[in-house]
Symmetry: C2
Subunit: 344 residues, 2 copies
């Protein structure tokens, strides 16, 4: 049997409310008894029961994190950032992967509701289109990461980069390097960040006076295989592009890998730009030019925002607003720029 607060009370010869106070270091208890109780609890191997505590406090000190998959390095970094600051603030993370399957995503949200999480953080999914109302119904603050927050609700906020700006940066870079036929490989369907990045692509083309060619937009899925398949389709085009901007780094890496098999060299035959700047981006060959997002920091900020919202509670006067973090272009060799570096 587990030792409860009652057992400690008995052993210490005090009432269990005193034990409760002593353990929560309440000033309402004599220093001496406090010390004795604490020592005793320690000795007896007492461990507080968060379940029981939550039932009365109506707080679980828990946040739910919904992701498509932790297998995507971008997501992993964000989750790590969330976990990091959650831990530092005595919160616990419940992880739910939804594998981009609407049904699982819905189920995950329902489960988080049942588990009474104090807040929910959602990373790049099509939540907006799909189940924002479900989320809001659970009645706790929701923070969206890289998800457009249309109806900035009473409790729903977002942190993300300016995706359109990023997409524009990437595409303009390729334009500047002399490319005219530039392709875009999309991410998974219905993700708002994908739409925004593509809008940036459009914008850059417009600004350069390059007509938009729908044949140059290829559907990917945000994963390696999506990029690889896109390359095959690209390579089969009558007049293939000389450059390609990819929804994210994983797509770009898959695409580059397949290009090699197809005997296309990057960047000579095809310049490639990604998005995210996952840690690996600098380490593949050729090193990937990409739009960097401060992934881990975004996770931290999301958690901090959740924290702020939870503290604010029903107090609507607390000012919280969506956070837009800076993204920037990181130029490496995949877009044609040669770089040499020495061993540090």
């Amino acid at each position: 049997m587990r030792v409860s607060i009652k057992d400690v009370a008995e052993a210490a010869g005090v009432s269990y409310s005193t034990v409760s106070r002593a353990l929560s270091d309440s000033p309402l208890v004599k220093a001496e008894t406090k010390a004795r109780v604490q020592r005793l609890a320690q000795e007896m191997g007492y461990s507080p029961d968060a379940i029981a505590r939550s039932l009365v406090t109506q707080k679980t000190q828990t946040v739910g994190v919904v992701v498509t998959t932790v297998t995507d390095p971008f997501v992993a970094e964000v989750v790590e950032g969330v976990e990091d600051t959650a831990q530092a603030n005595d919160y616990t993370v419940i992880l739910a992967s939804a594998a981009s399957e609407p049904a699982r995503e819905l189920a995950a949200v329902e489960m988080l509701r049942t588990k009474r999480v104090d807040s929910v953080i959602v990373t790049s999914s099509r939540v907006g289109a799909l189940y924002l109302e479900h989320l809001e119904r659970i009645g706790v603050p929701v923070v969206l990461v890289n998800n457009h927050n249309e109806q900035s609700g009473r409790y729903t906020f977002s942190v993300g980069v300016d995706n359109q700006h990023g997409g524009c940066l990437a595409t303009a870079h390729l334009v500047q390097r002399g490319h005219r036929r530039i392709a875009y490989v999309t991410g998974p369907a219905d993700h708002s960040d994908d739409a925004e990045r593509m809008a940036g692509y459009h914008q850059a083309l417009d600004e350069a006076g390059i007509p938009f060619d729908p044949a140059l937009v290829l559907r990917g899925n945000g994963r390696l295989d999506g990029g690889a398949q896109a390359l095959c389709r690209l390579a089969g085009l009558a007049t293939p592009p000389t450059a390609v901007f990819c929804y994210n780094d994983m797509t770009a890496i898959g695409l580059i890998s397949m290009a090699r098999r197809e005997n296309l060299s990057v960047p000579e035959d095809l310049a490639v730009v990604g998005f995210d700047d996952i840690p690996l981006a600098a380490h593949i060959y050729p090193p990937l030019t990409t739009v960097a997002q401060p992934q881990r920091d975004m996770g931290r900020q999301a958690m901090n925002m959740a924290l702020a919202l939870m503290i604010a509670g029903d107090d609507l006067t607390v000012p919280v607003s969506d956070i837009v973090v800076r993204c920037k272009l990181v130029v490496r060799e995949s877009s044609g720029v040669k770089i040499t570096l020495d061993c540090p």
Copy 2:
């Protein structure tokens, strides 16, 4: 205010125990009332409170997953596997990253205990050396992934590959390709899997009659930067190796990337073999020869084992034993074998 079982009871004009039964689809309640109650609960937006439920059932339907970092693709895959089968069995995952810091790892375990998880799964950390006893004290089944399980305790089991065999496979492959000076780059300190892989390295050298040279063992950390640094040290050696076996793929990728900066070509100047076969391994350049572990499946098996242990409870007659899954060498170009493939 949230709608509770009592509210539904009132609305339905029945006692709340009846509602409880109806919602858990108990056969002890008339079909008609059951249907009515369920519909009503639905309409009123009732959502069961897992906290309250757990308090009485003494089960949380939750597993704690302790990792070094989800940022390592190997770990991410394992976690995904765990999450996957957890979800399929109505369990929820609490994630705790410990960043290889003993203090955080300890804190994580304590937190999982407080949160009353029904089981704990630990992925590649130095748990064995560090706090196995802490884990056992929490009194729930523990499953170790790729962690040597010395004192296969009453409740502690493991799933993993035969690391020594894998290390041997990798090294023997390099020997077979004619290498005599083969280096090993270690993982983080005190990880049992690292020690075992290195033992395999030793074994293969022995079997080939190659004397072991301690100068060829370099300390890494299981991450990109560790591999990169190792390369720099290797390159500085009087007689550098012609091949290197790395603790894991991330190390290998970091090392290869730095080799390129140093104008060493892989595999011509230096053959490289990794361990894990993370999804990216096939997509980098040169494609990485590595020892493949069925990562996601290992996660699934770990969760299934936890499930079995939880069901077994105190029934010691249920036979559970450590699981060793097969690992195999996947030969790609980084160790010198040219491969050509077409677009599928």
